[in-house]
């Protein structure tokens, strides 16, 4: 069984986002970009399935800038993906259009499982996996903290608001990762060197005949209301007084 892992190149999670002064978006010039952390978890899960003999091949795909080939797609291959597909575009592509492109890739590649991050930490949409499920007519196990392949299907334990929930899905299926599914390995230097010889297929959006025109127009982007630092109290007694003043303590 082949596993397909879509990944996104985003502002590194350690970098504090800065809103551009002209209000058109977040400043991405000259800042560190990395793979979306949830997507690293997705790759890790796919590679572990391969190591266990449950998967035969791990294919990673990204829709984004040319540079992705030498950063996120290289990281992905160094982590253990066998090959990569780069669907190159300089435009921002919305989750719906991403899902449509991925559906085309899935038709070509015929994976048994597609593992995606549950959300990208830039637009925080939390949509692509579910949309892909709808377009392909496949079941979805979102926010996964455990994935177990069985004969005809996959059992997914999901992190839900009240705790955990387990669902059985027929294959092929979609899984989206939550933080506690696994701890992704580091791409080591020797593996990065080796990964350079793993193939990257270069495509364009036009190759797939999908309309990726955005449906949403961003009118403006602003900083949220700022909180200012308050006071420091010197003792527990003072804190107790404050809590009383707030009406939460008697």
């Amino acid at each position: 069984m082949k596993v397909l892992v879509p990944v996104k190149r985003v502002l590194d999670y350690n970098v504090k986002p800065r809103v551009k002064a002209d209000g058109t978006g977040v400043d991405l010039a000259n800042v560190k970009m990395s793979m979306n952390p949830f997507d690293e978890i997705a790759i890790e899960e796919a590679v572990r399935l391969k190591e266990k003999g449950a998967a035969t091949e791990v294919v990673v795909v990204t829709i984004g800038v040319a540079k992705a080939e030498s950063d996120v797609l290289l990281t992905a291959r160094a982590m253990g993906a066998d090959r990569a597909i780069l669907i190159q575009t300089d435009d921002e592509v919305e989750p719906l259009a991403v899902a449509k492109l991925l559906a085309k890739v899935a038709e070509e590649e015929q994976p048994g499982l597609i593992i995606l991050g549950k959300q990208a930490i830039d637009d925080d949409s939390n949509q692509t996996g579910q949309m892909l499920g709808a377009l392909l007519g496949w079941p979805q196990g979102t926010f996964a903290s455990k994935v177990e392949l069985g004969g005809q299907g996959v059992q997914v334990t999901r992190e839900v608001d009240g705790g955990l929930e387990t669902v059985d899905l027929k294959l092929p299926a979609i899984v989206t990762t939550d933080l506690r599914l696994n701890e992704p390995r580091y791409a080591t230097l020797p593996n990065i060197m080796k990964a350079k010889s793993k193939p990257v297929a270069k495509k364009t959006v036009a190759d797939y005949g999908v309309d990726v025109a955005p449906r949403l127009k961003t009118l403006k982007v602003v900083e949220p209301a700022k909180r200012s630092a308050g006071v420091k109290v010197g003792s527990v007694d003072e804190l107790v007084e404050k809590l009383k003043a707030l009406g939460v303590a008697k």
Partner: protein, 309 residues
């Protein structure tokens, strides 16, 4: 505009998360509700009592008992011929189902809205709430998830909606529910609590987490939350996580204990009315957003505080 609101419930009781969505939907137009589940007569009655509600569509079918997206999404899509917008709470249930509906309708979903600026224009947080985007859609239908803390709750009583049975295609045969571990707690729910006490990595163990945080929470009648680090380390269950990728909360008082204040954590709690931080590092970023800070060792401070309350 005719809107359809997904009613969040557990087949017995309607959940509060629904009420903020009704408020958001009312800003767009007429509010209809959908109660999908099994044996949901009681929920339907509670739904009809929400102030300002028109029709309550009720789909009672074993296939909808666990809100499996594969089964529920086609049901919602079938109701979208007669509705212009569908709104869900940004809960794990809403987030699971909404995009499946959106893609089936060929609509780009608008996630986690903070405000309704017009019939096609909304604000929403991006980058863990470090930026707020105003977006305008060109889609004919709207598929929206709503951030519960950003809208007032509609009154749960006073309405007189009319209940109408609907049916969908039922079980699509793609997925089955296998079980759940839902934590039962006497404490208030995180997302609706007035006071929250949250613990971080500094607690060091599950034993200490409960020994320090629980008694203080009991004294304050508070819900208990946690940072990702505390959840990852197994000190607290996953449903305690507050943050960008956990729960979004905005209580009257949020007490952060041994939490550094990473942007991903702040994303989930910085709209709290009053933030109190206890941390031994006076330069911890949490103090930049805290209204009241106390620098020191939590293992000394928290027992003393609990004792004195």
């Amino acid at each position: 505009m005719k809107t359809l609101v997904w009613v969040e419930h557990d087949n017995q009781n309607l959940k509060d998360a629904t009420l903020a969505v009704v408020t958001a939907a009312a800003k767009l137009g007429e509010v209809h509700l959908l109660v999908a589940g099994k044996g949901v007569d009681g929920v339907a009655k509670q739904a009809a009592a929400i102030e300002g509600v028109g029709k309550v569509h009720v789909a009672d079918d074993a296939a909808y008992e666990h809100f499996l997206a594969e089964n529920v999404a086609p049901l919602i899509v079938s109701l979208m011929g007669s509705h212009d917008a569908v709104l869900f709470p940004a809960t794990t249930t809403g987030k699971n189902i909404a995009p499946r509906v959106a893609a089936a309708l060929d609509v780009m979903q608008i996630s986690d809205i903070l405000s309704v600026e017009g019939a096609d224009t909304f604000t929403r947080p991006i980058y863990a709430g470090n930026a707020i985007a105003t977006v305008q859609t060109s889609d004919k239908k709207l598929v929206i998830t709503v951030r519960g803390t950003a809208f007032a709750k509609a009154a749960a009583t006073g309405g007189s909606g009319t209940i109408e049975a609907v049916s969908g295609e039922g079980d699509k045969g793609l997925s089955t529910f296998a079980g759940a571990e839902i934590a039962k707690s006497e404490r208030p729910e995180l997302t609706s609590a007035k006071v929250i006490v949250s613990g971080g990595r500094a607690l060091g163990s599950s034993e200490q987490f409960h020994a320090q945080i629980d008694p203080l929470a009991d004294k304050l009648g508070a819900a208990v939350g946690a940072s990702r680090a505390a959840v990852d380390a197994g000190y607290a269950p996953n449903d305690y996580q507050v943050g960008q990728t956990g729960k979004i909360v905005a209580p009257e008082v949020y007490v952060a204990i041994g939490i550094s204040g990473a942007i991903q954590h702040l994303a989930g709690m910085k709209d709290s009315k009053t933030i109190i931080a206890i941390n031994k590092d006076e330069d911890a970023p949490i103090f930049q957003v805290a209204d009241i800070g106390l620098v020191g060792d939590l293992f000394k401070i928290v027992p003393e505080l609990t004792e004195k309350l």
